[in-house]
C-alpha cells in the first residue's frame, strides 16, 4: 500500500513539474531559513552548558543609583567575595576576576616579538575549583597560588611553545615588564561561554585588591562568582545574600559617608546587590562590565518567530497550490471512492505526497544551508555548522520533515478526501476546487502580512542606522586615526606625537585613553562643597586628556575655554559637559568650584581631603556612549593617559599617512606591534548588533517575499489555466489584453492590500518597541508604510502579471476548440 502511495506520489510530482518545483523550492527555502535560524538559536541557548557546576554557581551583580546616575554592574568590590565566603556557609568556594583588558605578551628572551592577547583575566587561585575547566598540565588547585604565576590555554601553549608540555615552567613577559611563570596549561574554553580566557594571571598580592577599601559598593571592579554547596536552596540563599548586602551597604553609608542607610535611601538613591545564575548571563544580562558581548533573549524570541513564520509561509504555499489544483484531481478522488477507497486511504495518499515533497525539500534545504553557511557565520558573528555527525540532528530533521509534511499536507488531505464522489462522477469537476477560494485568500493575506511586516522592519532598522550614522554627535568622527598600543611606547609617545605633527597631512594629535567610542572609562564622585552630604554628590566620568584633545576630536564649547598648556593653573581646572552642568544645577558654570575626595579609605573625610577644581569651560554635549543611552555627565581634566593616540588628518592619502605613522612607530619601538583603526569604524562597531539585525531582517523579508511570490505565481498560473475558457470567450467578445490582465490581477491585488492594512499597525507596534531601546531615535512616519506597501504591491503585480498576460495573449480559438 505504502509503496503504491509512493509510486503514485512520485509520478504526480513528475507530471506537474511547475507545481512540484514551486512547492519544493518554496519549502526548501523555508526549511533552510528555519534550519539556519535554529542552529543559531541552539547555539545561543547552549551558553555555559558545558559547565556542570553552572547550576550552583552564581555571579554577584548590582543595581546602583548614586550621584545622579543609575547603573547595573556585573562587577563588585574586591571585598565581597571573601565576605561571602566567610559569612555565608552555603558558599563552598568563591572566585574573583579582574579584567584589565588586553596585554602585550612575548616569550622571555632576545628577539621575541610581542603579540597582543585579548582574552586575559586576573583570577583568584580558586578558579579551577569554581569553573570545571580541564587542566592538562600542572596542579589545578595550587597553580595560581603564587604571586607571579600564570595558567595558559592549550592553544596559547602551542602558539608560544609548540606544546603544553614544553610550556610548563617557562616564562612569559607581559607588557615588557611583568615576568610570569607558567604553572598550568588548561584545555581551551568553549566558545559558548559568557567569558573566555586564554591567559589566567594569579591575583595573589595584587595591589588593587590590597588597596581596596573593606566596604561594599565601592571599587566595583571584580566579577565575583560564588560556588554553592550541593543541595543549596538557591532562592533562599539569594534572599540571605541580599540581606547581607543591605547590612553591608548600611555600614558603607555610615562609615564612609557618615549617614544612615535610611537617610541615603530617602534621596531616591540606592545600592542593591543580587545574584545571577550563570546559565542566564548570556541571554538575560546586559550590565556594565560584562566579560563578553552577550546575546539577547528578545532576539531569540523574535528569530524563533521569524523561523516559524517563514516555514508557515512555505507550508501555506503547499496547501494553497494543492487545494487549488484539487479540481484537477477531483476525478481521481471520485473514482477512487467508487472503487472502494476510504477517506483515510485517500488522506494517506495525499499525506504521502506532501511528506515526499517535504523530504525532498529537506534535502534541498540542507544543500542550500551548507552553501550559505560561510556568509551566514560572517553575518551572525558565530561559528556555526551543520552537525552532520549527530544522530539527534538527523532525528530532529526527520521528525521536522514529517511534521512539515503533515502540516502542509493535512489541509489538502482533509479537504480533498472530503470530495463527494457523485459531483465528480456527474462531470462537475470544477466545483469543489473553486469553493475554497475564501480560505485560500485568508492564507495569502497571512503570507503577505508577514512579508510586509518584515519589509517594514527592514526599512525601519536601516533608517535608524542611517540616523545614527548621520546624526551630529558633538564630535567629528571622520578623518581620525587611532593607534591602539600607544602606552607601549611609554613616555616616547610624546616625542612620537611631535614627530608625527611634522607631517602636513596631520592636523592635530592627542594622547588619551578616553574616546567617545568604547575605550577607557572611569567615573568619580564630585562634590559641590568640602563635605559629604546626602545630596551634594555627582557621580560622573572623569577623562584625563591633553590640551589638543578637543581640536582632534572636533568638540565644541558652549561657554568658557579649552585647556591651555601655557596657563599653569589649568592643572586644577575642569571642563564639564552640559549634562554635568545641569546635574550640578549651575546656571552659569564658569568659575564655579567642584571638589574631589582623596582620603584614606575608611577614614572620615576632613575638609583638607577635598581637592578643589575650577570649571573653566562647558563642552557641548557629545555622545560618549551609544545612542541607546542618554548623554550622561562627564568632565575633563588635564592629565596623562597614554592608552591611545589619535590623529586628525586631512582625509586625503590615507595610506601614505598610515605608512608614515608605521615608519615612525617602527623606528621608535621595533618590537611593538603596530595597530591602528579609524574613529568612525570604532563608532560603527557599536551598532554591529543593529547592523546584523537589519541585514537579517532584510534577508528574511526577501525570503518571505520570494516564497510568498512563488505561491502567488502558482495560484495565478492555476487561475489563468482554470479561466482559459472564460478568457477565450471574453476575447471573442472584444476584451482587450489589458482588460483581461487586470481582471486576473485585481483579485490577488485585493489580498495584498488587505495584508498591508493588517501588517501596518502590527509593525507600528513591534517596531515602536524595538526603537524604544534607543534614547535617540527616528520617528515612525507614514511614508515608511507607503514604501513597504508600494514594494509589496509592485512585487505582487509583477508576479501575477507574468501569468495573466500570458493568458490574455493566448489565442482564444485554441481554448475554445478544446471543449
Amino acid at each position: 500500500m505504502l509503496l503504491n502511495y509512493i509510486t503514485i506520489a512520485i509520478r504526480n510530482l513528475r507530471k506537474h513539474p511547475l507545481y512540484s518545483g514551486l512547492n519544493i523550492v518554496g519549502l526548501a527555502l523555508g526549511i533552510a531559513a528555519c534550519l539556519l535560524i535554529f542552529l543559531y538559536l541552539a547555539y545561543e541557548t547552549s551558553y555555559d552548558n558545558w559547565n556542570d557546576r553552572a547550576d550552583r554557581t552564581v555571579r554577584v551583580a548590582s543595581d546602583i543609583n548614586y550621584g545622579g546616575s543609575q547603573m547595573g554592574f556585573a562587577v563588585a568590590g574586591a571585598v565581597i567575595g571573601p565576605d561571602c565566603g566567610r559569612e555565608l556557609p552555603e558558599v563552598q568556594s568563591w572566585c574573583r576576576f579582574r579584567n584589565r583588558g588586553s596585554y602585550l605578551v612575548r616569550r622571555e628572551g632576545e628577539l621575541q616579538s610581542n603579540i597582543r592577547e585579548e582574552d586575559v583575566l586576573t583570577v583568584d587561585s580558586s578558579f579551577f575549583e569554581v569553573f570545571p575547566v580541564k587542566v592538562l598540565q600542572g596542579d589545578p588547585l595550587h597553580c595560581l597560588t603564587q604571586p607571579n604565576s600564570i595558567a595558559i590555554s592549550r592553544s596559547r601553549a602551542e602558539k608560544f611553545f609548540s606544546s603544553p608540555q614544553l610550556a610548563m615552567g617557562q616564562t612569559l613577559m607581559l607588557e615588557n615588564e611583568d615576568r610570569r611563570l607558567i604553572t598550568a596549561v588548561f584545555e581551551d574554553m568553549p566558545q559558548n561561554t559568557h567569558f573566555r580566557a586564554d591567559l589566567l594571571l594569579s591575583l595573589v598580592n595584587d595591589q588593587e585588591v590590597q588597596e581596596s577599601p573593606p566596604f561594599w559598593g565601592m571599587n566595583n571592579n571584580f566579577q565575583t562568582y560564588l560556588l554553592l554547596r550541593k543541595g543549596t536552596d538557591k532562592v533562599a540563599f539569594s534572599k540571605k545574600f541580599e540581606q547581607l548586602a543591605r547590612q553591608k551597604i548600611a555600614i558603607t553609608a555610615q562609615q564612609v559617608m557618615g549617614f544612615s542607610l535610611e537617610e541615603f535611601e530617602k534621596t531616591g538613591q540606592y545600592a542593591h546587590f543580587y545574584l545571577q545564575n550563570i546559565p542566564d548571563i548570556h541571554l538575560h544580562s546586559d550590565l556594565t562590565a560584562e566579560l563578553a558581548v552577550n546575546g539577547n533573549i528578545r532576539y531569540v524570541w523574535v528569530f524563533s518567530a521569524i523561523a516559524l513564520f517563514i516555514l508557515l509561509i512555505a507550508c501555506i504555499n503547499f496547501m494553497n497550490l494543492a487545494t487549488a489544483r484539487s479540481s484537477m484531481r477531483a476525478r481521481e478522488i471520485g473514482v477512487r471512492k467508487v472503487l472502494g477507497g476510504t477517506r483515510t486511504g485517500l488522506m494517506g495518499q495525499f499525506l504521502t505526497e506532501s511528506i515526499l515533497v517535504s523530504a525532498l525539500s529537506v534535502g534541498l534545504a540542507l544543500l542550500l544551508a551548507t552553501m550559505v553557511m560561510a556568509p551566514y557565520n560572517e553575518l551572525t558573528g558565530r561559528d556555526l555548522s551543520i552537525p552532520w555527525a549527530q544522530p539527534l540532528f538527523w532525528l530532529t530533521l526527520a521528525g521536522g520533515a514529517g511534521l512539515v509534511g503533515l502540516l502542509a499536507g493535512s489541509y489538502p488531505a482533509f479537504f480533498l478526501s472530503a470530495f463527494n464522489a457523485v459531483q465528480v462522477v456527474k462531470g462537475d469537476p470544477s466545483g469543489p476546487g473553486r469553493k475554497k477560494v475564501g480560505f485560500r485568500s485568508v492564507l495569502v493575506v497571512f503570507q503577505f502580512s508577514i512579508s510586509v511586516v518584515l519589509i517594514l522592519a527592514t526599512i525601519l532598522v536601516f533608517k535608524q542606522l542611517h540616523y545614527i550614522q548621520t546624526k551630529s554627535l558633538g564630535f567629528q568622527k571622520s578623518q581620525v586615526i587611532i593607534l591602539d598600543d600607544a602606552y607601549a611606547l611609554g613616555d616616547r609617545i610624546y616625542a612620537f606625537k611631535n614627530e608625527i605633527l611634522q607631517n602636513p597631512a596631520i592636523e592635530s594629535a592627542t594622547v588619551s585613553g578616553y574616546l567617545p567610542v568604547p575605550s577607557s572609562r572611569s567615573d568619580m564622585n564630585f562634590f559641590t562643597s568640602r563635605v559629604i552630604e546626602v545630596d551634594n554628590t555627582v557621580d560622573m566620568q572623569r577623562w584625563r586628556v591633553d590640551s589638543d584633545y578637543f581640536k582632534t576630536m572636533g568638540m565644541d564649547l558652549q561657554s568658557g575655554r579649552f585647556f591651555d598648556p601655557a596657563i599653569r593653573t589649568d592643572s586644577s581646572a575642569v571642563i564639564i559637559n552640559e549634562a554635568a552642568a545641569k546635574l550640578f544645577g549651575f546656571d552659569d558654570p564658569l568659575g564655579k568650584k567642584i571638589y574631589t575626595l582623596d582620603n584614606t579609605p575608611g577614614s572620615t573625610p576632613k575638609p583638607e581631603d577635598f581637592k578643589e577644581l575650577e570649571v573653566i569651560g562647558v563642552v557641548r554635549n557629545f555622545h560618549w556612549e551609544s545612542l541607546r543611552s542618554n548623554i550622561g555627565p562627564l568632565c575633563f581634566q588635564l592629565g596623562r593617559s597614554r592608552g591611545l593616540a589619535s590623529f586628525r588628518y586631512t582625509g586625503k592619502d590615507t595610506e601614505a599617512v598610515i605608512a608614515s605613522l608605521e615608519k615612525e612607530w617602527k623606528s621608535l619601538a621595533p618590537d611593538q606591534p603596530f595597530s591602528f583603526r579609524f574613529l568612525d569604524d570604532a563608532f560603527n562597531r557599536m551598532y554591529r548588533a543593529e547592523q546584523r539585525i537589519g541585514t537579517l531582517a532584510g534577508l528574511f523579508a526577501l525570503l518571505s517575499v520570494i516564497i510568498s511570490c512563488l505561491g502567488l505565481f502558482g495560484l495565478s498560473a492555476f487561475t489563468a489555466e482554470q479561466r482559459t475558457k472564460e478568457i477565450g470567450i471574453r476575447k471573442v467578445l472584444g476584451a482587450s489584453v489589458l482588460g483581461i490582465t487586470s481582471l486576473l490581477t485585481k483579485d490577488f491585488l485585493k489580498l495584498v492590500v488587505i495584508a498591508i492594512l493588517i501588517a501596518s499597525p502590527l509593525s507600528y507596534y513591534l517596531m515602536g518597541d524595538w526603537l524604544s531601546d534607543f534614547a535617540y531615535r527616528i520617528d515612525i512616519q507614514w511614508w515608511m508604510f507607503a514604501t513597504a506597501a508600494v514594494i509589496a504591491v509592485i512585487i505582487a503585480i509583477v508576479t501575477v502579471s507574468l501569468q495573466s498576460i500570458k493568458a490574455a495573449l493566448a489565442n482564444p480559438v485554441k481554448s475554445l476548440r478544446n471543449e
Binding site: 481521481e332 472503487l339 472502494g340 477517506r343 462522477v425
Partner: protein
Amino acid sequence: MIELKDIERYFQTGSLKTYVLRYVTAKILEGEFVSIMGPSGAGKSTLLNIIGMLEEPTAGEYWFLGEGVHKFNERRRAEMYREYIGFVFQAYHLIDDLTVYENLEAPLIYKKVPSAERKSRIADLLDRFNIVAKKDLFPNQLSGGQQQLVGIARALIGRPKLILADEPTGNLQSQQAEEIMSIFQQLNKEEGVTIIQVTHSEENAGYGNRILNLKDGKIDA
C-alpha cells in the same frame, strides 16, 4: 437484491423544488440484467446514482441485500464498493496518472487482496479483454473503446455482485458497443452478475432481460 420504495429526489434552487424522481418503486433481483431507458433529463443517471449510493434520495426507502442504505456511513459505503458494486461510466473515468495495470490493481489494493493473487487476477482479465499489450500504457494513450474495456475490467476485477453502468457505450462506435454489450451479457449469463445499465438505444436494451422506462421522474410500467 435491490428494493426501492417511493423514492423521491428533488433539487432545490432557491425556494423552488424541482423533482427529478417521484414515487419510484422497483425491485431488482439477483441475476437480472436491467436497462433503464428514457428521454434525456428524465432522471436516469440520478436513479442509477441512488442505486450506487452516490446520491441519497430526498425521501423513500432503499434496501440493498436486505439492509437499509439510509443507515450506511461513508465507511460502510466504501465497503459496499469494495465487496459488491462495480461502476462503469460513460466517460470511463480511469485514473490518468496510473497505467492500465495499476488502474486494474487499485480496487484490489483497497480490498487488500494479496499481491500474488492481484497479479493473477489482473493477468486473467487483461487476457480475457485482449489488452495484455496495453497494460503499461496510460489511459490517454488508448482509444475510447479500449479505455471502456479497461473501465469494465476494473469494475469486474473485484468480482462484484452488481454492475452499474451509466451509458457505457454512449461515447463509442456501434461495433465497440456491441462488443461491450456481449461482454455484459456473458457476465450476466455465465457468472450471474446483476447488471443495471442506463442506455438510450433499444438495441443495447435488447441484451438485457428487463427494461425500466423513466418518464417525468416516474416509472412507466
